[in-house]
Point group: C2
Chain length 655, copies 2
């Protein structure tokens, strides 16, 4: 295991721990509620949730039980994501009871592995002769990828290598099936995931073959003749989902329409896309492949510059859970899947490793504090899969075009990808706060934390304190092992109109020191040196690009990283009766009683006086308008007070 | 045939002919282009249109040709609707060539009739043993209904009874299969149509059994145990459309969720709904059934008061081509099928026979001049099936949630219900202008025309002249056979802010003489007496009910019966950059060069200056706004100048 330890050291050049009231509460929620609840759900012991059957599938595949496979073809991945979250959680805090449960699950997973290393309960139980015949639909490599991620996380937390060895055998088996060599399959998975997982496995083990296999999958994707199309023809154009023939297939759904280095626009299934971009950025960093890096930047720019909701949501349609086209961001028929925003955060994190540019961290922060945080109920047991920016509850039930949108968070889903994805992200949040480039520590997120790293050969501990996102003052205390010169960089968020930074009581000139969105402070640091960042944490209006038709004439309210929304609970219905005066000042106050405490924003506007409407459905006479105080709460808290209307974008009017 | 003539006389107590520049042009288009074009399409001889195979099916069923059935299960109805339109057209103007072609088609249809009277090419060719086993999906009675309507129209135009006799045999056969008697099926068609057709057959022939059969179908619908559900269970829950099992069935799609007299809300497939309501209103008038009449009024009020677009479109979702719920009228994911508005006109016409209330005629006019007229291209060869109120062409191609919306009219469709429905409506327009109640002639539509009727025992001819919808002056010349007292009623449209009526140079007081939306003029009339109606034909703003969330803060422009819209061709893109000043006056001018000539409306507003946008996708800085002249054209002309953005509802702003 020496090899592993060395590589781990090289790859992980910093170690951070979250010490933060705001996020600490969510992380504890994951540890105390979500992980135990999900464990029960995997064993079908949550009465109000749809049965998962995920563990039962492993018991059957391991020969410990008889029965049929049930659930989606990718049901295994729920177990993997749970194990990965457990790994991160144990890394934060050892818990013998949880570890024992996880070890038992790992024993079961390992027992389901086939003699040749293959591991997948669907094909083991249900279609033993059909391995690798429907990569487009069947998620074999995807499930393997999630178990590899779990294995790496669990090893790093506990030092236990049973799952790691299991997944190395599976990875070696995959390597024997896929590759450029004669006789091997020239394919890749319909749902990207294995690619980024193999990079993690490479980083941990130092085994070049895993890096090469990941590169093979990425490089092969979208080459002609198109593998997915050939495979579809070979199986008689039958789709796994209905078991029937399909008339057409569109490889852009799987981002396999073009070689990845030729792609410039985010297309197809959004989660697949961002998982792929994540691996591309990983590989670009590791292999110094500038064509791959350029493709990552182009795809980033298109996705976040033309196809991203203000909440950090991506995916404009539920049909294919997919991107549509530039500036098409409908607020009510939206998809904005939780998993897609989590994947966007993965991608942003990799881009930050590729190059220190605050725009990646800006998007990471946006997705984290809004789309992702909003997906989980305050009880940790209910989730949004779809994260709309405008909801009329009756339309969700009575208009089939909006059936996919829910006005209240649901229990564990039949397709339960989102809840365990939230769990693994929150428990690994410590990995997203900082990056190191050269001898500079970059602070990407303002989350109370302690980080240890080595900068220019000196061991450095930094502790960050703040009451973010409610207050804009952030303090970093820098503690080098000995006085030394290195850089500490602080992100100046794109939402802030100004910022003030003081080091040892001295105010810095931001004009001189801001590079690519970071204020880089290079000096000789002594133990106890303090940096104080003051960000103007005040509610302000945000406008959308004029091409973004859905938001024309409207404004959103943002305060710090938090996007705000209106809810019927505070503003009555219909919310569309309300307009915000374009120059009305906002008032703000922290409301302890609101869902764990939050800053509430109020402003002046107008409301159509419904009682004054004299017509039928249409009328020449306009309804009178009355003055109204408009109350906005953070978007991430919406839908926690029963089912009601909600909207983010508010029409603006002259007073 | 004496019996027939007597009844025809009783039923048709007026005979009208259109003599109108505006509508004359459309009727000629139908006669000169649409009917010949559709004839070619039915024979699969239109190269740019999808093959219909409708005539080929009849040739196969008649044993004149071998081959398979192709097309939808209701493909026969296209032939019927064409024949019906031909009937109306021949009634307007005999045309020996067309009549010969129609006679040959009728010969073929009659030849496809089975010895027992059954007539349906699908079941004759493809599933001979399966008659009447899937009423939910298979449209057998629906197709029969359309042929009955065609038979009545063709007989009334030509006196030729071959198709009439064929369809009487089919109706008698249906009567032997369905009914309350022991051993007969207690069912009804999934797609209503036979009900209203049987009323027409009864009115023409005086045969009570057809009226009773129509009543049976109406009365039986929605009774428990539910016939459609039992049938679905009996055939193993298999649906005709995919040939596979379905998990559930919802009889509200077919308006069979409740007995019709208990229904109060328009639900399900919109065309089916209005065809049923039409028959209900027919039966309520004929049988004096007040419970049926009350249900008609409730359904009318719900549909037109809470679920109708300003264009007279109905159906808010393409999923099931259906109604959704009150005030849910999205402009861009809309359905508003052409056929549904045509059915709404049928229903309105029957309500006007039931009781003279101008609100029925108001809706009839709205649907006719906007949704229906707009569905046909100026060449008569291209049609909208879906009639949106807001279009972003790229969204129609790139966002699957809007694939059903087209930005340009298409050729003859695979499911070609709409074009022949437009043809049969336009050629029978003379039937919609007037109704008679007691000794009063009610003028429902302002269309140049001549009408002959008998009022209080006196033969009366009335000629109407106007340049409607461009000008608001309408002149009626009343010519009784001899001086006599009777009533002439003129609709005061709900869109008009005022009206002036002069009879023989004397101005009437509308306050005294308007009843249920009609100015009823009762006096002794002499030959040559003239009524002059002046309606204020000026562009004005219309607002939507505050609960109609999609239109909140917006206004529509209307001028007379015409709803207006903005197009990119006149206003640039994105149209959502535009707001109309709330108090800006409109200017109007008739533009000869615009698509056959139309009044164009201009107003002052503002436009977001896109070049002044300095942000990325989102920004704190608002784009500047510039003054803009906004140009609106009649909605019915949209999409005739290439593919471009269009919208009806325009945000209003303070100047």
């Amino acid at each position: 295991m020496n090899k592993i330890s060395e590589n781990q050291q090289t790859a992980g050049n910093l170690s951070a721990a979250v010490r933060d009231d705001f996020w600490g509460r969510y992380i504890r929620l994951v540890q105390e509620v979500v992980i135990p609840y999900q464990y029960e759900a995997l064993y079908d012991r949550v009465p109000e949730a749809e049965p998962s059957h995920a563990m039962a599938n492993f018991e059957i595949a391991a020969g410990r039980k008889t029965g049929e496979f049930h659930g989606f073809v990718f049901q295994d991945s729920d177990v993997a994501k749970w194990l990965e979250a457990v790994g991160y959680s144990l890394h934060l805090k050892r818990d013998p009871g949880l570890e024992a449960r996880a070890d038992a699950v790992i024993d079961l997973v390992a027992a389901a592995q086939q003699p040749d290393g293959y591991l997948n309960t669907y094909f083991t139980i249900k279609e033993p002769g059909k391995r690798w015949t429907n990569l487009q639909d069947c998620h074999e490599l995807y499930c393997a990828g999630h178990f590899i991620e779990a294995a790496v996380a669990y090893y790093e937390a506990t030092g236990k290598d049973k799952l790691l060895n299991t997944m190395r055998r599976m990875a070696d088996h995959i390597d024997s099936i896929f590759g450029p060599e004669e006789g091997k399959l020239k394919g890749y998975d319909g749902h990207q995931e294995i690619e980024l997982a193999l990079v993690k496995l490479y980083r941990l083990t130092g085994e070049e073959k895993y890096l090469k296999l990941s590169s093979f999958f990425i490089d092969q994707r979208g080459q002609e003749p198109n593998f997915l199309r050939q495979e579809w023809e070979a199986r008689g154009r039958v789709t796994h989902w209905s078991g029937t023939q399909t008339n057409s297939m569109d490889p852009s759904y799987n981002q396999a329409h073009l070689p990845v280095r030729e792609q410039s626009e985010a297309v197809g299934h959004a989660v697949r896309a961002v998982y792929m971009y994540t691996a591309m950025a990983d590989l670009a960093a590791l292999t110094k492949d500038s064509a791959l890096r350029d493709a990552c930047v182009r795809l980033w720019d298109n996705m976040t510059g033309k196809q991203m909701y203000i909440t950090g949501g991506i995916g404009s349609t539920h049909q294919g859970e997919a991107f549509t086209f530039d500036y098409d961001l409908p607020n009510d028929t939206v998809y904005a899947e939780t998993c897609a925003s989590i994947g966007l955060i993965f991608f942003a994190r990799r881009m930050l490793e590729l190059e220190p540019d605050a725009r990646y961290a800006d998007v990471m922060e946006r997705a984290l504090y809004n789309n992702v945080l909003g997906s989980m109920a305050q009880d940790g047991k209910h989730y949004f899969y779809v994260n709309p920016l405008e909801v009329w509850p009756q339309a969700c039930t009575c208009n089939p075009d909006k059936h996919h949108v829910k006005s209240e968070r649901q229990g564990w889903f039949g397709c339960a990808c989102c809840p365990p994805n939230v769990a693994r992200l929150l428990t690994s949040m410590n990995q997203y706060i900082y990056t190191v480039h050269g001898d500079t520590l970059y602070t990407n997120l303002y989350i109370g934390s302690e980080v240890n790293t080595t900068l220019g050969g000196t061991a450095v501990a930094v502790s960050q304190q703040s009451n973010y996102p409610w207050e804009g003052t952030v303090t970093l205390q820098v503690n080098p092992g000995e006085a030394a010169e290195f850089g500490i960089a602080l992100r100046i968020p794109s939402w802030s109109s100004s910022a003030e930074i003081r080091v040892g009581g001295e105010t810095l000139s931001l004009d001189e020191s801001v590079q690519q969105g970071y204020c880089v402070i290079r000096r000789v640091w002594n133990a106890g040196d303090t940096i104080e960042l003051k960000l103007p944490m005040e509610a302000h209006r945000v406008y959308a690009h004029p091409e973004l038709r859905a938001d024309a004439g409207k404004t959103a309210i943002q305060r710090g990283p938090l996007v705000y929304c209106l809810e019927a609970a505070d503003n009555g219905t219909p919310l569309n009766s309300i307009a915000l005066h374009e120059s009305a000042p906002f008032t703000e106050h922290f409301e302890d009683s609101l869902l764990g405490g939050a800053v509430v924003v109020k402003g002046q506007g107008s409301r159509i006086e419904q009682a004054g409407w004299s017509g039928g459905l249409y009328s020449r006479a306009k309804a009178p308008v009355e003055a109204a105080t408009i109350t906005a709460i953070p978007y991430y808290l919406w839908g926690n007070r029963g089912s009601g209307e909600m909207k983010v974008w508010i029409p603006e009017s002259k007073a």
